[in-house]
């Protein structure tokens, strides 16, 4: 059967307005992304009300361009997929309102997409997801291990107890005087420095799959402040390398532990911080050494950040599982997968 499907996918959960047209779940016909980074750089972080206002400026432009670039008429579409959570409520509402209006006007089914499923499904653009699988989701708001026994089943088996990894990167970046968002700059500095500070690796050896980054953050800030007080100049490269090594070591240790205990065929790395070179390289090396039959799939670099394409990829899967919403769909800013650490036993 070569039934084709065309999905218009809308994403507006944080500071990117993005609309994509996705064919058969894994072919990108268009993926328009309007980023607000330049705006939020003024404030050193995302200001929700400003983000919502930018989304309204962009939403119809992105829809129109996505259709035009894909050379798809709205009559050709099979469904509209939209991120309805988690994220900033005002930002989500713009995408949800637009998706509902578009779906209603064109008599198309509406698919509600959990943003985190979207991140995982960015991996589909590399190769099909094979189950059972495990996803390591690392972003500004999340650091979690998600077990997927079968398609459309998501169980959190471990997550951060305090800050998300991306959050720690941004805070440390601020202390180092780097521009928001600092992740990429720290990653680059880290590659030029060495781990001489040996910051703590919280919970690295605990028998669970949880993470913690607030201790690392405090240790980092204390080190910098102490040096300031005694007028000592610390190497930014070594600071970045030491911070990053601690983050990567903890994430890698927990992920390897989960891979050892679960019967999985695939490990997926996704989320904004999945673009981090240090993390990608270390996981490649460690997993390659320890597991022969585990397929390690990294979300494509240009699809690690928020985008409509990943929402379309997840939307196609949800459509096959008959997951549809009606016109009362609302934004759900704190949408979460079920927390099931026992799923593993």
């Amino acid at each position: 059967m070569d039934q084709t499907s065309l999905i218009l996918a809308i994403e507006s959960s944080c500071d990117e307005t993005s609309v994509a047209v996705i064919k058969n779940g894994d072919i990108i016909l268009s993926n328009i992304i309007a980023t607000q980074i330049n705006s939020h750089q003024r404030f050193g972080g995302v200001v929700p009300e400003v983000a919502s206002r930018h989304h309204i400026e962009q939403i119809t432009i992105c829809i129109e361009q996505a259709l035009k670039q894909a050379e798809v008429r709205k009559e050709d579409l099979d469904a509209v997929a939209v991120t309805y959570g988690p994220g900033l409520v005002g930002a989500l509402l713009v995408g949800v309102s637009a998706a509902k209006a578009f779906a209603f006007a064109n008599e198309l089914p509406l698919i509600p997409v959990n943003h985190m499923i979207g991140h995982i499904y960015a991996a589909r653009f590399v190769k099909p997801i094979v189950f059972p699988a495990l996803a390591l989701l690392v972003s500004g708001g999340h650091t979690e291990l998600v077990y997927m026994p079968t398609e459309n089943e998501f169980k959190i088996i471990g997550e951060t107890r305090d800050d998300a990894a991306g959050e720690a990167y941004d805070k440390v970046g601020r202390v180092m005087g780097l521009k928001y968002p600092a992740g990429k700059a720290i990653d680059e500095l880290a590659h030029q420095g060495e781990d001489i500070f040996k910051f703590p690796r919280a919970m690295e050896h605990e028998d669970n799959f949880d993470f913690s980054f607030s201790g690392l953050k405090s240790a980092f800030i204390n080190t910098v402040h102490h040096a300031d007080q005694i007028n000592e100049e610390l190497s930014k490269k070594d600071l970045a390398a030491s911070f990053q090594q601690s983050v990567v070591d903890v994430i890698t240790a927990k992920t390897v532990r989960a891979c050892e205990q679960l019967e999985i065929k695939q490990l997926i790395l996704a989320g904004g911080v999945a673009a981090n070179r240090g993390l990608r390289d270390t996981l490649d090396k460690e997993l390659g050494e320890k597991f022969n039959h585990l397929d390690f799939v990294k979300a494509p670099l240009d699809l690690c950040g928020d985008n409509g394409a990943m929402i379309g990829a997840a939307g196609e899967m949800l459509m096959r599982h008959q997951v549809f919403a009606d016109m009362t769909l609302n934004a759900d800013p704190s949408l979460e997968f079920d927390w099931e650490p026992e799923a593993i036993k």
Binding site: T17, K74, A105
Partner: protein, 242 residues
């Protein structure tokens, strides 16, 4: 001309379908409920009651603000997207102006919404039958200053606001002109009036660039502008990377 008019700028949600000035169907709720959940279903029901298909609509009229930021986002995004995909005309009408037809008489009309801390969103309008002309632009203003401006005009005014009672003492103590007010009966917005005002407008909105009339910059932007008075490269705040 077939018109779909919608307002979610405050607690009231009102949707109407008009054939020119003639109202075919209208639904109005005034419950603190979720406009995001309610708006599309009510649009759908109102169209059904009017016996009209969405693609018959020639013009979409939306109350563009001022009002609750969340409410404005919902109606303006919905209206923009409908207009884009239906290829319909898009007209934005001030959420304050849409209250002016509520006044039972001609003359100066002052619609306002409470904006906390003694401030209001308000405008002054001249009503003459179905014609409404703006006298003082919609703005975020202290109620005290608004009263001073009304005193300057030196003519009787009619206030339209569901929050009038909160300000009644100030009006009585400060105003030197004759003032009447809408009371409960005439204080709420209705999409029929919105549709008629939208029908009269000759200026159409651009579906791509149309945004709500918030009438207030965000606090973060206000602080930033104070520190960076010369930096105004707004164009590059958002850029397409794909």
């Amino acid at each position: 001309m077939k018109i779909l008019a919608m307002d979610t700028s405050n607690v009231t949600l009102s949707v109407a379908v008009l054939d020119s000035e003639q109202l075919l169907a209208m639904q109005t709720t005034n419950i603190k409920r979720n406009h995001s959940k309610q708006l599309m279903p009510i649009i759908s029901q109102t169209l059904a009651e009017a016996g009209m298909a969405l693609n018959e609509i020639d013009r979409i009229v939306v109350a563009k603000g001022p009002g609750s930021y969340t409410g404005l986002r919902i109606a303006v995004t919905t209206a923009k997207t409908l207009a884009l995909t239906l290829n319909a005309e898009l007209v934005g009408v001030s959420s304050l102006e849409m209250l002016v037809p509520n006044a039972p008489q001609n003359g100066l009309v002052v619609p306002f919404f409470d904006a906390r801390n003694g401030n209001v969103f308000a405008g002054i309008y001249e009503k003459n039958g179905e014609q409404v002309v703006n006298v003082l632009a919609d703005q975020h203003i202290s109620f005290e200053k608004l009263l001073a401006k009304i005193n300057e005009l030196g003519r009787p005014v009619y206030f339209v606001s569901s929050q009038f009672e909160q300000f009644q003492t100030m009006v009585e103590n400060t105003l030197v002109v004759v003032a009447e007010h809408s009371g409960k009966l005439n204080s709420l917005p209705n999409a029929h009036a919105l549709g008629i005002l939208g029908l009269q407008k000759t200026e159409l909105e651009n579906v791509y660039t149309f945004v709500p009339a918030y009438l207030r910059v965000t606090e973060a932007e206000r602080n930033w502008k104070e520190k960076h008075p010369n930096d105004e490269n707004k164009e590059s705040y958002v850029r397409q990377i794909n």
